[in-house]
């Protein structure tokens, strides 16, 4: 039996179909999940994709956080369900406090879309095991509220516990503190990042690189191995 990876659609989610495709390319079964359903359809992992859920009104992720599906996600994430939040999904995860900190408007105040180089700092989370610590990858970045912020104590804690998973290289695109592009919770099952691995899974499309596929093969290996 192949692993089932849920992909949530909130109103205004944009990258759900891409994420489903990426999951399929990695060899798992993508299961669409709807924001109004509490039922996670017995998936083995969940991805919160990018987009502008609820138009990013109020604050990015602030309204989606209260959807019925998130009640179950929060509960099961605390029990160890692997969860990946990409961009808007990361913003939702910080709003739910599954991940610490918050996301602010980019320091230059513009939407920015570019191919972004990252360093994988932690290759032992559920979603990064197929990378090597220190590996450099390039995947698309596209957002206007991507400036990661947390208080100094939280930042120090994240660093000390190895919970900074990705760091921006070749220039910080948005003023994120300590160049943080992605983080994980203490258990390593919940990961959030601003750049978009699901847009970098096929040669020729987008940036033409496939550096993002490792997210989806990582989780698949973990689930199959488990």
């Amino acid at each position: 039996m192949t692993s089932r990876i849920g992909v949530i659609t909130f109103p205004g989610t944009l990258d759900d179909r891409d994420t489903q495709r990426a999951v399929g390319l990695a060899g798992a079964e993508a299961v669409p999940l709807w924001h109004r359903d509490k039922d996670l359809k017995q998936v083995d992992a969940v991805v919160l994709p990018g987009g502008f859920s609820y138009g990013d009104y109020l604050r990015a992720g602030a309204i989606s956080r209260f959807s019925p599906v998130m009640e179950t996600v929060i509960e099961q994430a605390k029990a160890g369900l692997p969860v990946l939040g990409i961009c808007n999904g990361f913003q939702v995860l910080t709003e739910t406090h599954l991940l610490p900190g918050a996301m602010l408007r980019n320091n230059h105040l513009h939407f920015i879309c570019r191919d972004q180089k990252l360093r994988v700092e932690n290759a032992s989370t559920a979603w990064t095991a197929d990378y090597e610590a220190g590996q450099e990858i390039s995947i698309p970045l596209k957002n206007i509220d991507g400036r990661y912020t947390a208080d100094e104590r939280t930042l120090d804690e994240l660093e000390a516990e190895g919970r900074v998973v990705f760091r921006y290289l070749d220039g910080n695109p948005n003023g994120s503190l300590r160049d943080i592009a992605g983080i994980t919770n203490a258990a390593g099952n919940v990961v959030g990042l601003m750049p978009h691995p699901e847009h970098a899974v096929e040669p020729l499309i987008g940036t033409g690189r496939t550096d993002g596929l490792g997210f989806f093969t990582s989780i698949l290996k973990k689930l199959v191995g488990a």
Partner: protein, 81 residues
């Protein structure tokens, strides 16, 4: 130094999608009885020197030409005590 606050709100007849999205979300969060929500901007200006009539007039002008887009927004200026 005195603080002058400029509140900028969309004109009442202009669509406020953010306010609407907030209002529609409230019942789901268990907050009933809010008939309408409008979302605007609040600017806190730290003004050097005395905030006399001339200073306030300047802030008014600044608000009308820059902080607010008077095609779609109204604004108010007040000194915060």
């Amino acid at each position: 130094m005195a603080r002058v606050v400029v509140d900028v709100m969309l004109k009442p007849e202009i669509l406020d999608p953010q306010g609407q999205a907030v209002q529609r979300a409230l019942p789901r969060l268990g907050f009933e009885g809010i008939a309408d929500v409008r979302q605007g901007k609040r600017f806190e200006l730290e003004v050097e020197g005395p905030v006399d009539e001339a200073a306030l007039a300047r802030v008014h002008e600044m608000a009308g030409t820059f902080l607010a887009n008077t095609v779609i927004e109204d604004f108010t200026v007040r000194v915060e005590s």
